[in-house]
């Protein structure tokens, strides 16, 4: 079980970010969720991997969030009426999935030499991202879902993989996902030649 109770903070941050992404449609709230995910991930990664690599992951994630923010900031924020039934359903679904993840996280320790909190955090972000991807057709939200999914993957993989090339490429992929997300969310005219 939990080795360090202070790790509850990143876990709570990751959960809050998951709720903001899945349950709300305000892009500001969702982007804040993505940024918070990266911060929570940093707090977990820095305990198991070199601080430099953890910082690079944090900076890349925040830059990706900033890129998305720049592309959305001129858009009018839609504030659909809050459907309480939908909100309760989504939060309950997330809570149930996370409960299962926290129960099985211990068994993952047989495979990955990481502490319980790191594995729990990774699973929380991974499943949060997957749930977002499974419930939306909006390009912007899909992009944010993928970023959260990759953040969960980073929590798990960065402490295991010390290669600078691979970690650099994964950071590049994060940036490219944000760039592509920005492109597909905002672009209406194409490069098609007549």
């Amino acid at each position: 079980m939990m080795e360090h109770w202070y790790n509850l903070l990143p876990l709570i941050l990751l959960m809050a970010a998951g709720v903001s992404l899945l349950a709300f449609d305000d892009w500001r709230l969702m982007l804040a969720g993505v940024a918070v995910t990266y911060f929570g991930a940093f707090l977990l990664i820095v305990q198991a991997a070199p601080a430099g690599i953890a910082l690079i992951k944090l900076v890349t994630g925040l830059m990706a969030s900033a890129l998305l923010f720049v592309s959305f900031k001129d858009q009018k924020s839609e504030q659909p009426a809050l459907a309480w039934s939908s909100l309760i359903f989504k939060v309950t679904a997330l809570a149930l999935v996370w409960l299962v993840m926290m129960l099985v996280a211990g068994s993952f320790q047989q495979i990955f030499p990481l502490n319980y909190e790191t594995i729990s955090g990774a699973l929380i972000a991974l499943t949060g991202g997957l749930l977002v991807l499974g419930t939306t057709k909006e390009p912007a939200k899909v992009t944010m879902g993928i970023l959260v999914l990759y953040s969960g993957f980073d929590i798990l993989y960065t402490p295991l993989e010390s290669s600078i090339l691979i970690n650099g490429l994964l950071s590049l992929i994060t940036m490219l996902i944000a760039l592509v997300g920005m492109y597909i969310s905002t672009r209406h005219e194409s490069e098609y030649e007549e």
Binding site: L133, K137, L149, L165, L169, L176, V180, S190, Y192
Partner: protein
């Protein structure tokens, strides 16, 4: 000078330069095509590790390039794939002008080609997934078309490619760590399942395949076709790399029936869906799924003959798909709606485009005298000796595709009152004629090509 520098870094640099001049479509397409052809020729004639003689200058042609502590290795055994990849790229780039592909197609396509070669060269090979994902992300902007936001197909492509990478890297890490001790079979099984899931997302294995026809429908057919072809080629070779790299995986008897079953399921689902298809562009997507399924069946045969046949089949397969995609693109200038009902009588107004499309389709079906026939025959013989049930199912799938081809043929013949006219441009006619001739030559005289390529194929380590 090192081979990775020539085959990976140089095309990447060129892609960046060409991207800056993408408005000059014709010049960019020709330059990229000629450079790709040059690289294919180098791969064909120049042994890696030997001395590259350029007049009085002799350059040692090294096989490795070190980047940030990891290496890219291209050895003599990789020359066959390098030649195929760059030859295919040259054909696609040359045809991009006739196909009116988006202007970023050529520079981004060249970058994707280089990144896929990088994925085949990176050591440890477990990291190939990162480069394939990089290539997949680069493709997304190319797939968007005029006045359309990203459709469900493109979004699914984006999502599935993204999900595959964590699965493959994590499974690779577990399997890499387990190499020394293979005692924990449960753990190995779990890792293999995760790995299989990752490859299933990439290769559009049933039930993760609907994005393939959707992407074809939502994107320019030439661009989407190029991406699907290059990606499939790269991933099939990476699968073989994985099987070659993990000795215990290669020696697991249960792996081969699973691969065979997955391949057959892909062929059957692709064939049945294709039979009921109403749209020529979506049909292309199902053809790609069937080809990927057949590739998995060939890998599952677990012998050199089937793998040789698979490697040989890359040439006719990629050529036929390129012709199919080019025909679709040319056809769409006059028939933007590719539903069968809108194509009635189209054969008479675009005889070369439709003729080439049908020849390419029949070649992919393994029709006698056409390019894919020898490799299909070899595969069927091999499969029949292993599992007749799988063979029957495979015939059902391919039968579905035959039915789809017959329906397409019936649709394009359609209106009998229309007059025959040739509306294709001269450049298009040349490409179609050369492409169809090549399909016949490869089918009628396969030994010519096989004998030319046998030296290169004999160097492929998995085949020996």
């Amino acid at each position: 000078m090192s081979a990775p520098l020539l085959f990976i870094v140089l095309p990447l640099i060129l892609a960046v330069i060409l991207f800056a001049f993408q408005d000059r479509k014709i010049a960019v397409a020709r330059i990229a095509s000629i450079i790709s052809l040059f690289l294919a020729l180098i791969a064909f004639v120049q042994p890696i590790g030997g001395v590259l003689a350029l007049g009085p200058v002799a350059i040692h042609f090294q096989d490795s390039l070190s980047v940030l502590g990891r290496g890219f290795f291209l050895q003599d055994g990789d020359r066959f794939i390098l030649a195929i990849v760059y030859l295919t790229a040259a054909f696609w780039f040359w045809g991009s002008v006739a196909a009116q592909a988006p202007k970023m197609f050529v520079p981004v396509g060249l970058a994707i080609t280089a990144v896929i070669v990088g994925a085949l060269a990176v050591e440890p090979f477990l990291y190939a997934g990162v480069l394939v994902e990089l290539a997949a992300i680069l493709t997304i902007p190319m797939l968007l078309t005029k006045d359309h936001a990203a459709g469900p197909g493109i979004l699914r492509f984006f999502v599935f490619q993204a999900i595959a990478l964590p699965a493959i890297l994590l499974a690779g890490w577990i399997l890499g760590g387990s190499q020394a001790s293979v005692s924990n079979e449960t753990q190995l099984l779990q890792a293999s399942i995760i790995l299989g899931l990752g490859f299933a997302f990439w290769l559009a294995v049933f039930p993760f395949f609907p994005w393939v026809p959707l992407v074809m429908k939502e994107s320019h057919p030439y661009t989407a076709g190029f991406i699907l072809c290059m990606q499939s080629l790269g991933i099939v070779v990476i699968i073989i790399d994985y099987m070659n790299g993990f000795i215990w995986l290669r020696d697991t008897a249960a792996l081969y029936p699973i691969l065979r079953t997955v391949g057959v399921v892909m062929v059957v689902t692709g064939g049945v869906w294709a039979a009921f298809q109403q749209d020529a562009r979506r049909l292309f997507g199902y053809v790609v799924i069937i080809e990927n399924g057949l590739a998995l069946v060939a890998v599952s045969m677990q012998n050199g003959a089937a793998l040789s046949s698979l490697y040989y089949s890359f040439i006719p397969h990629l050529l036929a798909l390129a012709i199919f995609a080019l025909s679709l693109s040319v056809m769409m200038k006059d028939y933007p709606d590719t539903q069968y009902k809108s194509l009635k009588g189209a054969l008479k107004s675009k005889p070369f485009a439709f003729g080439a499309m049908l020849v390419a389709l029949f070649s992919l079906l393994g029709f006698p005298l056409l390019a894919s026939f020898p490799s299909r025959l070899e595969l069927f013989e091999q499969l029949a000796s292993v599992s007749l049930i799988s063979m029957i199912w495979l015939f059902i799938g391919i039968g579905g595709l035959y039915l789809a081809a017959a329906r397409l043929l019936s649709a394009v013949f359609g209106d009998t009152s229309a007059q025959w006219t040739v509306t294709e441009k001269p450049g298009e006619l040349v490409l179609f004629t050369l492409g169809v001739l090549a399909l016949f030559v490869l089918g009628l005289f396969p030994q010519i090509v096989v004998s030319q390529l046998s030296n290169l194929m004999s160097m492929i380590p998995f085949l020996n």
